[in-house]
């Protein structure tokens, strides 16, 4: 394995909620940032780098400055990472790169969202708004339904193959008391019996939107050694952005994660089949299916057979999204992608309690934004 590029030394997570009332995004950012920095055993003054998401409701512009001021930080590196669901994973390597570049030593990566009864909608004039919306195609459900239908047509994959992914996520969520679907398992039959929202996509194959927040603290490998928690190293990262609208996707059945994961494996000197944990971005079942295939875990089109050949639970041979994934945990907007980072850190630290996997040395984390458009992959390793 190659030299570590940085280390994750602190994590924070807010319990997902379906609705908030009178709570600002800034307040939630403060709560979750505090959890992550204290988890690392650091003083707030140790934070000299700040990476934030673009969707802070209270301030459309100057987001890093607003958050730094709110938290009483004076970072020497601050930036917005705007990669949709890939933002969380995208923050981690950017933090390590900024540290390596000498810009800062310890970076807070934070994403949080409130979820008020009447959310404000931004005025939108992008090409999707002009060329897709007038034909009745609004929102991500339709875009991912188009990807799923294309996979079925090209490879003969079935509704039951996809339902396996949702059922596995719900099953794993039964060991996570914070998950929005804790106490609410759903087997394959229940997934297939849930209403079709946009064919061939069933309701239970779609993440539940929630309020929440996630944060991690990234520091240098050197400094990590002096901190209190077991170190989780960033061993490799990859990123690729190919398009925004589904109509402009270079392929409907393989995405930019293929290239991003290949780079992350090459940088870390690892292979997909060596991973002890697969922490794969799962906004929809089709996203996991394509990621398994793009990772090279099976041949294109064969994800269904692969799922049937493996046990995806924490004590199975291929633990996948042990926190329940976003399909089981809920999707706190952009912070949803960061749940995959936070769970990987928990597992690699040996802090996952009753859902702790056995051997926990290597984890693959993926992030995905827009319609299989923005992709980030990380290989994380236990010290």
């Amino acid at each position: 394995m190659s030299q570590a590029k940085g280390a994750i030394v602190g994590i924070g997570e807010l319990k997902p909620q379906r609705l908030t009332s009178g709570v600002t995004t800034l307040e939630m950012i403060a709560e979750v940032a505090r959890l992550a920095v204290f988890d690392a055993g650091l003083e707030p003054a140790a934070i000299d780098g700040l990476l934030v998401g673009p969707q802070v409701g209270e301030t459309p512009q100057h987001v890093p400055a607003t958050i730094a001021e709110y938290l009483g930080l004076a970072p020497t590196m601050a930036n917005v990472v705007d990669l949709g669901g890939a933002s969380g994973a995208g923050m981690v390597w950017r933090a390590a790169a900024a540290i390596e570049a000498g810009m800062c030593e310890t970076v807070l990566c934070v994403l949080a969202n409130n979820r008020e009864e009447a959310p404000s909608r931004s005025p939108n004039r992008n090409p999707i708004r002009e060329f897709d919306v007038p034909f009745g195609a609004s929102g991500a459900n339709i875009s991912y339904a188009l990807l799923m239908q294309a996979h079925m047509a090209e490879h003969g994959s079935t509704a039951r193959d996809f339902a396996l992914i949702a059922a596995a996520a719900r099953a794993n969520a039964q060991l996570n008391p914070d998950a929005i679907f804790y106490g609410k398992p759903a087997d394959v039959e229940a997934v297939l019996a849930s209403p079709i929202i946009a064919s061939p996509l069933h309701l239970y194959e779609i993440v539940m939107p929630v309020a929440g927040g996630e944060a991690v603290v990234v520091t240098s490998a050197e400094r990590a050694r002096s901190l209190r928690k077991p170190t989780v190293h960033l061993l490799g990262a990859g990123e690729k952005v190919t398009h925004r609208a589904v109509s402009q996707a270079p392929s409907l059945t393989s995405g930019p994660l293929k290239s991003a994961m290949a780079r992350a494996f090459a940088q870390s000197g690892t292979r997909a089949d060596e991973m002890d944990l697969l922490s794969l971005y799962d906004c929809y079942t089709i996203m996991v299916a394509t990621t398994i295939e793009d990772a090279g875990l099976c041949a294109p089109g064969q994800f269904g057979a692969w799922l049937r050949d493996h046990d995806l639970t924490h004590n199975g041979d291929k633990p996948l999204n042990t926190h329940g994934g976003q399909l089981g945990f809920g999707q706190p907007d952009l912070a949803g992608g960061m749940t995959h980072v936070v769970e990987a850190v928990r597992q690699l630290r040996g802090e996952a309690d009753e859902r702790q996997i056995g051997k926990a040395e290597l984890a693959l984390v993926t992030g995905n934004g827009a319609t299989m458009s923005e992709a980030t992959a990380l290989v994380l390793g236990a010290a």
Binding site: R129, F131, V133, G136, A137, E154, I197, A198, V246
Partner: protein, 144 residues
């Protein structure tokens, strides 16, 4: 789908000076897309520069109106409430004969849509304006 699509209060396109020729043609029942005079490639959606070679020598040409269905979805729960009366309805990704792919509204055919179906431009009034929708080309056997 028995609803009058033209009576829907659906959001229309956010037209700019650059994209006006596309929507003017659409209103006339035509599909026009840009072509690059330098690299020769077709361009959709409209842009100020060719996304392949960054040339500014883009010209509008009428498309054949022929396409192939790359994927589709029957929408039962629309993402925008104005579409609720029309549900279920079908949208699809149309690979135009010229090369680019566009998303469009797919009119019902004699049988349910399938990936790979041949399509033809079918200008349709939706939400108070004529949009470049598509319809399946019925095969000879099905027309008997």
């Amino acid at each position: 789908m028995s609803v009058d699509l033209n009576a829907l209060k659906t959001p229309g396109p956010t037209i700019t000076a650059l994209t006006q020729p596309f929507w003017d043609a659409a209103a006339q029942g035509q599909l026009k897309i840009q072509h690059c005079e330098d690299c020769g490639r077709p361009v959709f959606y409209p842009r100020p520069i060719c996304p392949h070679c960054w040339s500014k020598r883009l010209v509008w040409k009428e498309a054949s109106g022929k396409g192939r269905l790359k994927s589709f979805s029957q929408i039962r729960k629309p993402g925008h409430p104005s579409w609720l009366p029309a549900a279920p309805y079908v949208v699809g990704l149309v690979a135009l004969a010229e090369g680019p792919t566009m998303l469009s509204f797919i009119l019902p055919g004699a049988r349910p849509p399938h990936v790979g179906d041949a399509l033809l431009l079918a200008p349709t009034a939706i939400g108070g304006r004529v949009l470049p929708a598509f319809k399946p080309v019925e095969t000879a056997t099905e027309e008997k």
